[in-house]
Amino acid sequence: MSIRVQTEDFNIGTEIAGLTGGRTDIGAVVTFTGTVRGAAGESPITSMTLEHYPGMTEAELARVEAEANDRWPLSASLIVHRIGELHPGNNIVLVVTASAHRHAAFEAAEFLMDYLKSRAPFWKKEARPDGTSEWVDARETDTAALQRWQKSPSKAAE
């Protein structure tokens, strides 16, 4: 159970090794990596700046991670989120979940991302080639994605 907010990049292999190295109780590791796309819809972007709310970010991520650990039997989990100026192709966020079985690892990773996207206080501003920049609008679909977790802890059991 670990959370980091940082400007520097992360290495997925290193992060997995740090969580699972030397352990033989883990059967399944799921990672999610979010990256900066070179265009928002039709408009190309040159960079993306991530602002956050220091203190609350860590508190929200810890709450979200604790909730995932209540719902699924996780052996380990990790959330790393970058802040500052990023460019197309750069990593933004990493979620890693490890469990004895694959469905728990998959579902917990998806849950962490859905909650993180709707509750963790990060904001993205996109810069365009013409020098303008604009705050990214929240997507309705991210709120909708949360709602499926309110019925049942396991999609596999549906």
Partner: protein
């Protein structure tokens, strides 16, 4: 200080486009006694000038946290020390 006369000092924090419209990231205010909820605080802030009116033009879009925990328009401010206003989050 007797109960009923709230003269708490609270820190207000603004993020993303809310911060840009207000013009700064943080301020300390004395919370007037008649301001009991988040919604009432927003109404009061809008009396303070154009930048606040612009930031809270559509108050239903602005999100609030009391002491770094998500709150709603009808959440009582109670003894919060830090109140933050920001757009819907877009991380991840």
């Amino acid at each position: 200080m007797t109960s009923g006369t709230k003269t708490n000092t609270v820190t207000l924090r603004y993020f993303a486009w809310v911060r840009e419209k207000i013009g700064f990231a943080e301020e300390e205010i004395f919370l007037p006694a008649e301001v009991a909820t988040v919604a009432e605080l927003i109404v009061w802030l809008k009396t303070r000038g154009e930048t606040y009116q612009a930031a809270f033009d559509k108050p239903e879009v602005v999100r609030t946290a009391l002491d770094q925990t998500h709150a709603r328009a009808d959440t009582p401010i109670a003894n919060a020390r830090e109140i933050a206003f920001f757009p819907p989050v877009t991380g991840g």
